[in-house]
């Protein structure tokens, strides 16, 4: 992996992308935000992202389908599932289908940053998560 971590963030609630994009940019991620799963899939058909963060419950195409698509097209990419409807069966299904992690909403930006840092590490590139911690400590 070279350069910044390439992240695709897909959630049909616009507030999620608006809130998380700057939070991830702070740790050096380049983030493309999508609210429409079809557009996100079209983009991913062309471009390999290091990390894909996707909501599960969306109209037309759900997060599990996105996960399956990414696992087949770009097996190296790490997929992080986020959902407001977390339950054991869904979490297990996501992991079984190859998700890198599964996070229940609501969560703090730090929770996602921590998981992204883990994903980056698994891809052989370390993110300096401490930079954010130091910034916060300094106010």
């Amino acid at each position: 992996m070279s350069g910044n971590l390439q992240v695709l963030l897909l959630d049909d609630e616009p507030i999620v992308g608006r809130r998380l994009k700057p939070a991830l940019a702070k740790i050096g991620c380049e983030v493309d935000v999508f609210e429409d799963p079809e557009l996100a899939l079209a983009k991913m058909a062309q471009k390999e992202y290091d990390v894909v963060v996707t909501d599960i419950r969306m109209d037309q195409i759900d997060g599990m389908q996105v996960l399956e698509f990414v696992r087949e097209r770009w097996p190296r990419s790490k997929v992080i599932m986020i959902t407001g409807y977390a339950m054991m069966s869904l979490a297990r299904e996501a992991m079984e289908k190859g998700a890198f992690d599964f996070i229940a909403k609501p969560f703090k930006p730090d929770d996602l940053r921590r998981v992204i840092a883990k994903a980056a590490h698994a891809l052989g590139s370390d993110i300096d998560f401490d930079v954010v911690e130091v910034e916060k400590a300094n106010g």
Partner: protein
Amino acid sequence: MPLIIVSADDFKQGDEISQKVAGTLGYRYLGRDLLHYVATENQVSEEELARALDEAPGLLTRRARRQRLLGLIEAACLNVLLDDSVVCFGLAAHMYVRAVSHALKVRIINEPEQRAEALAEAEGLSVDKARKQVMRQTKDERRWSEETYNLDQTDASLYDMVISLGTLELDKAVEIISDTVGYRKFQPMTYSRKLMQDKALAAAVRRELMGQFPEIRVEANDGTVVVFIQSLKKDQRKKQELVRQIAGGLPGVRHVEVHIIRDLVGQAAQSSR
């Protein structure tokens, strides 16, 4: 790595399988040894703790005391289960770690006839007498879980896997469990770890408050703790403050909410005075 929670209708077999699985996988084994620690930490007797785990409440059982003992065990057990790679048996964890996806829940059963034969041989009983004893044990086991957790622990739907030792050898059971836990679906994730942390925090708060509030329910979410207690209207404020003071001082607690459930019996007794 995941957790393995084992429940069995025969204590000896469940214990042996759990220890062997832990040995095979290099996991920590968490069993009845924990009771020694719980007894020492809380100045209660180890025998009394074991009885709370093994015996269904009877007419003379002090229920609040029994709930408190089980609460002490639960808090200590969950604290260990925050770590990965643990095989847990004999501490009723299958009753309170149900929704956690990285915990593989296994039930070991045996044919009643085989249990009766083994019991008859071990204790020098007639097979007929042993059969009756096995039937009674099964009934008591069911009653224990229903009275304590409102669940029937013999219900197969509570588990990810039920293994019958009437069909499989004990070592085969060990092999199957050890293989199954390797499935990706049982791997820990942010969601399941958080769930476990919330459960452990709720149990720790409950442990601290149970002495003063026997009818207590506690929920935790990311450091926010919601406590439900019973109170008469006149004591409400004092009790809420006490709960906030005790719970708020515990590690991991960031915010405490106290909800009052009206003590209708106490209220009625007071108004009739």
